[in-house]
Amino acid sequence: MEIVRREKVPDDFRVRQMRARDMLRGELEGDDLEQYVQERIITTTLDKAVSWARGNSMFPLTFGLACCAIEMMSMVGSRMDIGRFGFEAFRASPRQADMIILSGRISIKMAPVIRRIYDQMLEPKFALAMGACSSSMGVFNNYAIVPADKFMPVDVHIPGCPPRPEALVHGILKLRSKVLEDPTLGWRERYNAVGTEELVADPAAHPAAINVFPTGDTSGA
């Protein structure tokens, strides 16, 4: 996995303090003023419109692992109905989805697969860890499970075992408000990153990383 970083202004406290003082005195002019405004205004109207469109039609990835997947399915059902928020279009391909809901326990065998799928998603993408097992170890604290935070960045954690559909919708709406207001919060701000990128594995080095095998050879399973 590779984190793609972006350029950021030097946030040396003294420099910022001086410029804030100049702004308050009305002494910033021309290019300085423009640059100041550029850094501070997180969303212009166009950004706001784009965020509004993104937040109101996120495509979740069909990614059910275990029991939480059943509650995710019942969230799609008619009682809870996430269709009213615009999220009913589940996509099977990670290239077309922008939200992955890790519903269920993540075993050590599955973790590299999930990482690969997450990397294959295109920016902007968001990850929800649904349930106790993917947020932390959950009910099981043993050799076979890994919490999602250990190998991929997660935006929202939803507690519960399994969380009620209402709780899941609450978590999704929190994510939605984050997307509408400032999608760069959370791990993106901490790591000063724009996103993650998939490193395509070399088939010679990792024979199990490909999808097509030599004829009849299933031993690498």
Binding site: A66, A69, I70, M73, A92, F140, P162, G216
Partner: protein, 414 residues
């Protein structure tokens, strides 16, 4: 752009003339493809290595372990009472059944007598769970076949059942309602009325699902005569449950070796004739109707009495006793901190789950924690039947067969 890009170079290196050469050996035609573990049609994280000749499946190898949680190992660290929530999460659609198998095994080791009311309450909740499991199966299988609206109808019914579960135990899923010695709590007032209202409605709804699917041209063409497997092969592979019944063998542990008062109720075992996908579908839908009958009879005949055993060494005393009785306080304290001790021994307790014979093997070494808990999960054994079923069928038939097999990866991987 004087430099040719890598992509261009790769594109131009593809030699189409290979197609015009004759095929030398049959193996050249075979292609081994990987399906999953993340795939919309594999009902959980199941990975399949399919060897294809064109679009016909020649061989299939399932790869599992992608949701292996080490539940059996975790259960060895916890006292018997605390194992119940952990073990419930194995086959995550049949959680009452997991708890029932485990509690049954521990009760056999303890040589404990379960009061009649508790047995009836257990049967009611088990059969409601069976209906719920079959509803989820029907919704997701119809979704796989393309009958997408079935998903919403089935989940609408499922919500009513989950309301009942929530009313009796406080949780929708993984309710830990079935405890060692009986059930956790008696059903509240109003539960019976709500349950009867649901039961009055349910046969109608099942008929409506039948109207939608039973004689639908697409369902018939995709399921009738597709991937049959004969009874002897299924028995050799250890397959039980609706798959075996679809092939004609009426083996059902509720009738053959009744446990928990199942012999008090009158119900039929639906059996198929051809053993193809359509029979597997029809058997499960008919089973839902029979389960409705069982719950009705259980509600009608629900006896009065305690809902958990009186043995204070195993079951918690009722709260009001703690204020007056010293022994009750001591029992409560011992049970909550250390847990009850079980005499040493090994027991294998089978019950009829929605997918087949679900059994729990418990070995006790005399302490308050089990020494070994193993679930014989029906999906784990039934998965071995996939390969013979789909040999020489199309990929689309493979998808339909997987749907009709009803694998639950939580039970397979544990």
């Amino acid at each position: 752009m004087s430099e040719v890009s890598e992509y261009r170079r790769q594109e131009e290196s593809v030699d189409l003339s290979v197609r015009t050469q004759p095929i030398e050996s049959p193996e050249q035609e075979l292609l081994t493809l990987n399906m999953g573990p993340h795939h919309p049609a594999t009902h959980g994280v199941l990975r399949l290595l399919v060897t294809l000749e064109g679009e016909v499946v020649r061989d299939l190898k399932p790869v599992i372990g992608y949701v292996h949680t080490g539940i059996e190992k975790t259960a060895e660290d916890k006292s018997y009472w605390k194992v119940i929530p952990v073990v419930e999460r194995m086959d995550y659609l049949a959680y009452y059944f997991n708890a029932m198998a485990f509690c049954g095994a521990v009760e056999t080791l303890l040589d404990l007598e379960i009061p009649k009311r508790a047995q009836y309450l257990r049967v009611i909740h088990l059969e409601l769970n069976r209906i719920m499991s079959h509803l989820v199966w029907l919704g997701t299988s119809a979704l796989d076949l393309g009958a997408i609206s079935m998903f919403w109808y089935c989940f609408r019914e499922r919500e009513t059942i989950l309301d009942l579960f929530e009313m009796s135990s406080g949780q929708r899923m993984h309710t830990r309602y079935i405890q060692v010695g009986g059930v956790f709590e008696d059903i509240p007032s109003g539960w019976e009325a709500k349950c009867r209202a649901f039961l009055a409605d349910m046969p109608n709804r099942i008929d409506q699902y039948g109207d939608l699917l039973n004689r639908n041209e697409i369902v018939l063409r995709r399921l009738r005569g597709v991937c049959p497997l004969d009874e002897q092969t299924l028995l050799d592979l250890g397959v039980t449950g609706p798959l075996l019944r679809a092939a004609g063998n009426p083996w059902d542990l509720r009738k053959a070796a009744p446990y928990s008062s199942y012999d008090d109720f009158e119900f039929k075992i639906p059996v198929g004739t051809q053993g193809d996908n359509y029979d597997r579908y029809a058997v499960r839908v008919a089973e839902m109707k029979e389960s409705v009958k069982i719950v009705q009879q259980a509600l009608d005949g629900l006896p009065e009495g305690p809902y958990i055993t009186d043995d204070r060494k195993v079951a918690l005393p009722p709260r009001h006793e703690l204020a007056t009785s010293m022994e009750a306080l001591i029992h409560h304290f011992k049970l909550v901190t250390e847990g009850f001790r079980v005499p040493p021994g090994e027991v294998y307790y089978p019950i009829e789950g929605p997918r087949g014979e679900l059994a729990c093997f418990v070995r006790s070494d005399g302490s308050s924690k089990p020494a070994r808990v193993h679930m014989r999960d029906p999906s784990f054994v039934n998965l071995q039947a996939t390969a013979p079923m789909v040999r020489d069928a199309y990929i689309a038939d493979l998808i339909a067969t997987l749907a009709m097999l009803d694998p639950i990866l939580g039970g397979i991987d544990r």
